[in-house]
Amino acid sequence: MSKSILIDTTRCIGCGACAAACKVVNRLPFDKPDDEKNRPSATCKDDDLVAFAQSVGADELGGVLSAGKLNVVQTHGSIFVRRFCMHCQEPTCASVCPVGALHKTAAGPVVYDADKCMGCRYCMMACPFSVPRYEWKALLPRVKKCTMCAPRQAKGLQPACTEVCPVQAGIFGERDDLLKEAEKRLREEPAKYFQHIYGKEEVGGTSVVYLSAVPFEQLGLPANLPSDPMPLLTYRVLSKIPSVVPLAGVLLGGIWWITNRREEVAKAEGKE
């Protein structure tokens, strides 16, 4: 069971409700301070969340991912593109974290444990989608990224962003089902779509997949990503260590022993 999100950029109308909803449930400040007046609680009923998000969504358009904005709606030409964590199947961020502060849950989301984190920021360096952001101004800074609303999912709800979307541009479901749906759309309307599901195989597959009318580079998504998960690049090197190190140790010990023998012989001969 691996939950995923399918983003169909041909359906997105750029209302910004997803960006607003994300800020509500993650308790992040709105772009327009006026919107704070009517802010619902982070655990409000979904009906209230939908109503609020759709009403102030336009104020949340644009910008970039940051510690205060975990889901952005950007414009590329005339296309609206929602960007957030891809929740990779084999997340690079989780593999590089020295203390295992990030990990892929069985349910699908890649989650972050701030208590473990020491703030090395390798995850930020390594993520091929440049998703994780940092609280640079805080004294106890945390890495910030979308959690696919793991707490809401635990309560049987769907992520806030897909809950509030008025046109089902972003839909939530099982990865296999969403991929089937995506393939169905590509098949049934080939002229409408660029024939590729972004995230199906990139870096080992991601839980967030995209459909588009144009090549994905034009939407600001990294192009030319390998289908091998990135962690393999370092695993190929790290996995050799347990065998190489003892061998090298024996080799060095051997050299010492051999050269030591020469010294002992030289000393013995010198004494004679």
Binding site: S66, V99, R121, L233, T234, I241, T259
Partner: protein, 390 residues
Amino acid sequence: MNFTKFPKLTFWRAVLVLILAVGFYSTVLRFTRGLGAVTNLSDQFPWGLWIGFDVLCGVGLAAGGFTLAAIVYVFHIERFHAVLRPSILTAFLGYALVAVALLFDLGKPYNIWHPLVMWNPHSVMFEVAWCVMLYLTVLALEFSPAILERFQLHTPLRVVKAATIPLVITGVLLSTLHQSSLGSLYLIVPEKLHPYWYSPLLPVFFFISAVGVGIAMVIFESNLSSRAFGREIEMPLLEVLGRALAVVLMIYGLLKFDDLWVRGALSHLREPSTETLLFLLEITLGLLFPLLMLFFRKIREDREGLFAVAVLVITGFLLNRLNVSITGMEASSGVHYFPRWTEVAVTLSIVGVGFLLFSLAVRYLNVMEKQVPGARYQVPEKTSHLAPLS
């Protein structure tokens, strides 16, 4: 009672005091206002000077320790013993100061101990953290004879000296692991690091260049110490090191050129970019010029000539690490990074403290070999006959 005179205020000491003062100010800012207030780091560029220089260069420059230890103890080339202890000291101070630099760069430095109990063996950084911690311990033990001798602690001294060979071998293994792993850190960003520097051979390049700069650092440090402490320089030793350096540079050069060619990266040389400029600077200063110079006996046997070669190699090394971590990562980041003056102040302070501690150690401990040949401190076979320490 004799009052010690206040140390004379020389030019360099004044510079050091100034640097430390600015560094202190930056330190206060760092820990009261956070990373954003003291650095030019950003979401697009999370690793800057403190990683690129303090950690990557710092660890590399401290590499002389393991190279020399291997030469003296494993390969039994005893005549390098004279330059061994200063190299171990440089290494120990270098690594200790890298740890200090990390306390600045980590977002939550009080969690620096977490890799001890929270494990992710898939992470290169986990491996680096462990290797550095273990190696720091090894270096401390390797250097301890200098301190134990000073305080005449004979039994611990015997124990440590008996453990020398296993310690040295462990040290060489650990060094090889983490020097190469610092390169492996960048294996995970093939689409972000510029082809001049990205390669599946990154760990190999980092290791070979660490050996090379380690040798150069021994030459460099010997020269500086000779000038600062008024000692004769051990030229015959340095001449051999010069040859070894030439061999290392040649191996690196061949591997690097082959790797660039095979991956089609040489075509980038046609682009008149900052990357091209800095790459060529790195290769000419750090590889071509020193290699050319080392082929001339006049330079190999000349104190100033070897010093110049060492300085060039060290400069090239610094350029390489900064190119990998900063120059090569800029284009893909979409931003331009340059360290803030407070970042530079912290870095310079750490370097300054390193020089200070080195000179203090030389003054108060037996670090430099006594100039009389054969006058090595001898550990007595048995300690029972010695008077107990009062």
